[in-house]
Homo-oligomer: 85 residues x 5
């Protein structure tokens, strides 16, 4: 999963059935100092109520249960990152 | 999903059965200022009636329902991108 | 799907059952001017009778029907690319 | 699978059901000299009891049995790497 | 599939059930002149009896039959590469 920051959202009325009713978050991957990496932005379906500036986990190598998750999804809101590289 | 711009289309008469009848869009990923990124172009099956210069969402890590989607697909037309990085 | 050019083929007698009888094409991704990109080469199973120097589509984010496609596959031969970036 | 080092962990109370009870490890890909590569960090579900500074294998191109593995996962602890490039 | 060279192997006693009994090969992607690319190394399950310095094909975008293949796998040993870029 990628460690990312919610930096916005997108509005799309014309979309496939699977995305109907989904909140589409704009997320940017974080570097080793947890700063957004330029031009590493995706759009992910929210599944945990994440909001602007939250640090989140997004499953980009789609591995989740396909019946519940219709596309790349935000799957956790992160409280703490412990790093000891 | 990637945020991309429709920059053209391709014509292919000889193609696998799954792509028969599909409209094949040329899409380029957008950077943080929503400008096309050089050499980041894919071909995606249209599923929402997207046209030239539309801003779209494309599911590149194929997570969509495999019965309905046969390859990388354009799954939404984006009206607005709200970014507060 | 990636827009690529057939630049050769590989011969492999010792291979998994799924690849038996497959024609294994060497394909290189194309840049925005449709020139091969250095060191962006893959090997894909041919499924449409593509030949040397053909411009093709290859499904690298495997989304096609897994019963018919056993690995990354060439799924179309492209006649024309219309680009208006 | 990627060869990586456990460099920490993350804490996330608000998360999807599939991740409940999982230990979320912060892992960084290793270069040819087995040193961490900058900004190549992911979060993976532990499935083998890996700990801080362990060298591990993580399945990023999700291929494992989807019923048992819910996201990118650490699937082995590596004792030895034999390289003769 | 990626064109790679076997540059070693890893030993891991603590591993998930799916990898038990597997031979874990260290493989490095090859460039256009068929030389190893720095820091483009993965670990793949051998399924064709490949050995040190063999040129192989590895399916990284997991497209193979999930019942037989548990992770990124070496699926062919290459005798010849014909390139006419």
């Amino acid at each position: 999963m990628i460690l990312a920051k919610v930096v916005g959202h997108v509005v799309a009325t014309q979309k496939c059935d699977e995305l109907r009713g989904s909140n589409l978050l704009l997320i940017t991957a974080l570097d080793d100092e947890q700063q957004p990496i330029r031009n590493k932005t995706w759009v992910a379906v929210d599944s945990v109520g994440a909001g602007l500036h939250d640090i989140v986990l997004a499953e980009s190598w789609f591995a989740l249960n396909k019946d519940r998750y219709k596309a790349m999804s935000v799957v956790a809101i992160v409280e703490n990152v412990f790093r000891d590289a």
